[in-house]
Amino acid sequence: MSLAFASVLFLAVTLVWILLPLVPAFHELRFKTDAEPLRVVRRSDTNIRHFALGFRGFLQKHFATHLDRCELTDLPQIGELTDGTPFCVLPETVEEPPVDQENPSTEEDPHLVISCGNLKLDAAKTYPREVYARGSLSAGKGASLRAALADQSIYLGDGCTSYRWLHANGEIHVGQACTLYGRVSADRLIKMGDDCRFERLHAPRIEFGTPAAPHETPEEVREIDLEKLPRFADHSADRYLFRRQLEIPAGGHVEGDIVVTGKLKIGAGARIDGSIKSHDDLELADNVRIAGSVVSGKNMRLGEGCALGGPVVAEQRAEIGAGCTFGDEENPTTLSARGLKIASGVVAYGTVWGGDS
């Protein structure tokens, strides 16, 4: 092989090597296989009732006639939708789905269950398709539901599991040691039993365990001059900035927002008429009152009887002491953390998010 030929060959191979990536590039440019604008969420999907509303629309589309004829029959209507989904529509007089006669011991009911009145689901049975009750819905101990919608209330026995969502136009009462994946919402009240796990709850009032007696607000608080505290860095726009860490003494009163680039501790009975933020861990002692929002870049620990008026955000875990309240009936709010541990007696008005709670 001559030097000239080798050089030409080298150049040719190099050129091909360079141009090779341009082949798919020009193909894409010419045929535009992926030239649509990125799909932007035009409508908010944070509405917790999103799936429930979608399911209600589904019922209206496929089962309007069945539901209209509820009073005309006392027998369950069993059938299949065009996509093969088996369903079972129960009249008002029948509260329990029929048992599969061919296999009475089965632990799974494959039907989409629709009830014209109240509905009772068997204990320890799995319902892999959605369940709807025009009245109230109660699930026996250990039942597993994909999703459930009730026009009145939902009652889950101990050890129940829901996998996608639950919505009740009335109340939701959850037994002990239940696991609720996805969204759970009620238009009046959610009452959680002890040792339950959940991801997202929303209701005008959410009770964890038995509500504790309201803690007494300390009568006397003393004004704190934040600018005289150590590591004070700045006061502007009604915000006090502290470096590294800050501790508000017990019974102190502060007006304004507080931001700390490290840890923040607030003593028992202190009152903050503003919002607080810590880059590091945030710790509130018992009976702290905060009118605004509470944000922690890491973990948050709330003592007993704290009352927080604004939204609460912990970027890592949050431990909520007994008797704490979040928001009130007039001003619902959101409690959000990557992981939440909530003691019995806590009441939240609005939404509670916990990734692993």
Binding site: P37, L38, R42, T261, G292, E315
Partner: protein, 732 residues
């Protein structure tokens, strides 16, 4: 006029660069050395090849040449003496750093000694100072020597060969080493040394040098030729043919110099064996070169067993400065490469921060939405209608379109919608005052009585949930500004829009979100975002003398201890430029604005106590990104200059090439954009990645032009006016 002058300047620069490059490419391999040291033109033809004499030393003037090496070497009685009697290390001496193909002629003499091992003189070439490979001739006292060939460091190939003659200690010998077309040949006293494998790695860098090992070796009459060109000659000629025609070797016994006796050397030399002076072709010998500078000190230190540090380059302060600049450029580029990688890997593997996304049940505060508009009749109605339907308490949302001296029907459209929606829209028709978006916003702020403002350009279409999403972070008392994600709507228009789609994707999906994850400095972009009014007022409000009021606000908030939050899932469509001229103007503006902000706040960032160290670093890197284009061009220029000056270290060029390629090529930026497309689930468009290089080149020119314009103050206050892209009505 300015534009014309700039064009002429750039064209002239381009022509100059091209001319210099062509000139360099047409020069012989040894151009750099030739230019530096050879005023006279002495050439000789040897075996079809014309050689130019580069070095001719007889040391008769007592001057030490401007060369380098290590170990103990000096001039004694007109000889170059390399002294390594104990074999501690090979002492070597390098006359020139780069010769390409070369011939090295010299006379050498090994002093008699009593050393146990072979006493050696070497004529060697190698490809780098790092000894990655070297090849040459080693001659022992006696009748044998060897050709050495090291193709990799510490992997010597040594094959002893019979020299066909006896090399006597204390006698002058004559030797030639030739490197030509990747082959090494050697002759001792006119007799070619057999070469089992003289193949030497082809390299840009060859370095003929002399050495001594386990002995003291004298060299004199050193001549180095470099290849000029091939000369066609009839018949087949071997190098040995030419050497055979030289005068026969003559020896003349002389007394040993006193220095030998001082060293106590014995053996045959001690018995008074005379020296032999060979007779080179006298026509080839020239006077010592006057351009070689004598050494006035700073001699290399003697060492034993430990490799000495690199010798200082003695080519002057300018080269040193260039090297420092070059090093700075390399480090800067590497910093940005690391930054790209850190951001991208964070997005792929790190914990993603969306702390405020879940805040949907709260008492929403009052907010005013500002929509600056200057001749936006095509789009203003649409954005107002969309805003009227957003999911936000109507009693807490005020829509405030700012009609800044529009001459089209913008005013009429706003007034009509205002009348149709009483109490919802508060129009602000601006008819005079300072020009520019910042001035319009500043004036509009007088009408704002809410704690927060959101800003949307007139061609943006917010979704129904967007206002809530952008307002949620303001519950954090530290947040001064919020930025949403901008998504191109006219993606499929042409190549430019498709490339901008990729760039935006990388910029927001990876860059901004990674900065959010790492708690660095997400940037408020002037639209699809919002500000806390109190915080903005605390840091001085809208600055009307700023070329990029959004970036300026971001940094003032940062210096004031306020954070900017990026909400990656708060997306909003925009119309990206679809012509290159518009795009170049856009980059031009952004560059001016960023650079202005950099000069304003660079030093303030260092001493600021309200920002963390990581924020300072990221903030400076974010602003400095528009400096990277001219820096990269400067790197190419400095690299080329060093090359022309003879600093032919391929390592430097390769470093710049690799880092530049990494910065613009498939490693860093490509990785980032591909990751963004992957995260967006739009994998098909990744195929367009090679075109990003083209976009980079356009940015390189635009950014450099803007930076130079700014440096030479060609851009004055007249640059602050309404910079806007002509917006078209979207398709239904």
């Amino acid at each position: 006029m300015e534009t014309r002058r700039q064009k002429i300047l750039f064209v002239a620069l381009l022509v100059l660069c091209t001319a210099v490059t062509l000139f360099r490419l047409t020069m012989p391999e040894t151009f750099a050395v030739w230019m530096r040291v050879m005023p006279e033109d002495q050439t000789v033809i040897i075996n079809n090849t014309q050689w130019k004499k580069l070095v001719s030393w007889d040391f008769s003037d007592g001057h030490f040449p401007d060369a380098w090496g290590w170990g103990d070497f000096d001039l004694e009685n007109g000889d170059l003496v390399l002294h390594d009697p104990q074999g501690d290390w090979t002492v070597y001496f390098t006359p020139i750093e780069h010769a390409g193909d070369f011939i090295l002629d010299t006379e050498f003499m090994i002093e008699p000694g009593e050393n146990a091992g072979p006493q050696e003189a070497h004529l060697i070439t190698r490809d780098s100072r790092e000894l990655n490979s070297e090849c040459g001739l080693a001659v022992f006292i006696g009748d044998h020597g060897f050709l050495r060939n090291t193709v990799r460091k510490k992997n010597y190939f040594r094959e002893t060969v019979d020299l066909g003659q006896t090399v006597v200690a204390g006698q002058w010998q004559r030797a030639r080493l030739q490197y030509l077309n990747g082959r090494v040949s050697a002759w001792v006293n006119g007799i070619e040394v057999p070469s089992p494998d003289g193949v030497y790695p082809q390299t840009l860098y060859t370095e003929p040098h002399f050495a001594a090992h386990n002995s003291t070796v004298h060299y004199r009459n050193i001549k180095i030729y470099s290849k000029m060109r091939n000369v066609p000659l009839p018949g087949r000629h071997q190098p040995s043919d030419l050497l055979a025609g030289l005068q026969p070797w003559r020896t003349e016994p002389v007394d040993l110099p006193r220095s030998w006796q001082r060293r106590g050397s014995g053996g045959s030399g001690g018995s008074g064996t005379g020296m032999a002076r060979g007779a080179f072709n006298s026509a080839e010998v020239s006077p010592s070169l006057s351009l070689w500078k004598p050494i006035t000190g700073n001699r290399p230190q003697t060492f034993s067993g430990v490799e000495p540090p690199p010798l200082p380059d003695r080519r002057g302060i300018p080269v040193l400065i260039l090297k420092i600049i070059f090093g700075f450029i390399i480090v800067s580029i590497c910093l940005y490469i690391i930054r790209h990688y850190v951001f991208t890997i964070n997005r792929l593997t790190g914990q993603q921060r969306h702390p405020y996304l879940d805040l949907d049940t709260v008492e929403w505060p009052g907010v005013t939405v500002l929509i600056p508009a200057h001749n936006e009749e095509e789009v203003i109605g649409e954005v107002l209608e969309v805003l009227l339907e957003v999911d936000y308490p109507a009693d807490r949302l005020r829509i405030l379109p700012i009609n800044d001296r529009s001459t089209d029907s913008t005013k009429e459209i706003i007034d009509r919608l205002c009348a149709e929606n009483p109490g919802r829209i508060t129009p602000f028709h601006r008819t005079d005052g300072e020009p520019g978006k910042a001035a319009a916003l500043r004036d509009a702020m007088k009408m704002v009585d809410h704690e927060f403002v959101l800003v949307f350009d007139a061609d943006y279409l917010p979704g129904t949930g967007l206002v809530k999403q952008l307002m949620a972070p303001f519950f954090d008392p530290e947040v001064g500004a919020v930025m949403g994600r901008v998504v191109p709507h006219n993606v499929g228009t042409n190549l430019l829009t498709r490339m901008l789609d990729l760039e935006r994707s990388g910029g927001y999906q990876v860059d901004q979100q990674a900065r959010m994850n790492l708690r660095l400095v997400p940037q408020y972009g002037g639209t699809v975002g919002g500000l806390r009014v109190q915080a903005l007022d605390a840091v001085g409000g809208w600055r009307t003398d700023s070329l990029a009021e959004d970036t300026d606000a971001t940094y003032r908030l940062l210096l004031g201890g306020w954070k900017t939050v990026y909400q990656n899932r708060s997306e909003c469509y925009e119309q990206v430029p679809d012509t290159w001229s518009v795009r170049m103007n856009q980059i031009f503006r952004w560059t001016l604005g960023h650079n202005q902000t950099l000069t304003r706040y660079f030093w303030k960032m260092f001493g600021n106590k309200r920002t963390r160290f990581a924020e300072k670093v990221d903030g400076i890197l974010l602003l400095g990104i528009y400096w990277m284009s001219p820096i990269m061009l400067l790197g190419w220029l400095v690299g080329g200059t060093l090359w022309y000056l003879g600093i032919n270290k391929p390592g430097l060029i390769i470093i710049l090439a690799v880092t530049t390629y990494s910065a613009v090529g498939n490693f860093a930026v490509f990785f980032e954009i591909a990751t963004a497309a992957h995260l967006d689930g739009t994998r098909g468009r990744i195929r367009l990645l090679p075109f990003v290089l083209m976009g980079f080149m356009v940015s390189l020119v635009s950014v450099t032009r803007a930076t130079l314009t700014q440096i030479f103050r060609l851009h004055g206050r007249d640059g602050i006016f309404w910079h806007k892209t002509k917006h078209k009505r979207r398709e239904a």
